[in-house]
Subunit: 130 residues, 2 copies
DNA sequence: GTTGTTAATAAAAATTATTATCAAAAAAAG
DNA sequence: CTTTTTTTGATAATAATTTTTATTAACAAC
């Protein structure tokens, strides 16, 4: 279990109940859209405003707590910031799986890389056997 | 110079003046947003409708003429579909540069890759020396 | 405990982005 | 040339996102 309060404080953000709940949703699913967070949280927390989620997602991205994963043809998903890794995105079931970045050696000249975003689209193991 | 008429026909799309102009904009800039296409084309072609651009961009993506490049924190750009390559995206000047995919060896098990999307964010040569 | 100060939230409004509708124009087929 | 099909432009409708405003929560000073 992750300590969202410390995580937020480490990144100079106050640990409000809204923020910790957003992080809980993100962490539970691994990768999730803003709409999905809203749908999920408003069950237990009906007064929560969608605008608050947008605002806090943006804030937490800016403060490096979470990262955006833009996806071709659909809405961005968000995940807790962690060691760099790549995404295997299944075109059939939509599942997103994390994999080691080490399976991908990159050698670029004349460019100072700050961060990498590697999405591989295809069929997951499950969907291959159907 | 690219033959947009053949390109469209090869992909079972009729070569309208709107479509060839959209492709011309995309090709001239390499990578461009929908808004930028509209701003650019309406100078020479004031009656062109933004809805027509949205409609044709979607259609040309579906027919494999162009591809969407989703980018963290900003609007998607589009480019002519060509051999797979990676993108070097400068966080300072915003420039997008194509590079060979060969500089990146990928070795994944249990996943059937259909296509790859590799964006490297950082500083381009120009912006490094500032 | 009350006040003042600040920050965060919820609700509402405004703005922006995207998609749908449909008549007119253009292109293709016959 | 006439009919049929496709595409476009204009506009309306919807959806997504941002901004504004009013309310509430937190908390230290009095
Ligand atoms: Mn991930
Ligand atoms: Mn490119
Ligand atoms: Zn799958
Ligand atoms: Zn640059």
């Amino acid at each position: 279990m992750v300590d969202y309060i410390s995580l937020l404080k480490q990144n100079n953000l106050k640990a409000t109940i809204q923020r910790t709940n957003i992080l809980k949703s993100i962490n539970r699913t691994g990768h999730i859209t803003i709409d999905e967070i809203y749908e999920e949280l408003k069950i237990d927390y009906p007064t929560l405003s969608l605008a608050t989620i947008y605002k806090n997602i943006l804030l937490m991205v800016q403060h490096g707590v979470i990262v955006e994963i833009p996806i071709s043809g659909e809405k961005s998903k968000y995940e807790i910031k962690k060691d760099e890794h790549i995404h295997l995105i299944c075109k059939s079931c939509g599942n997103i799986e994390d994999r080691e970045l080490s399976s991908c050696n990159i050698d670029i000249e004349d460019f100072n890389i700050i961060f990498k975003q590697i999405n591989l689209y295809g069929l997951c193991r499950n969907c291959q056997s159907k």
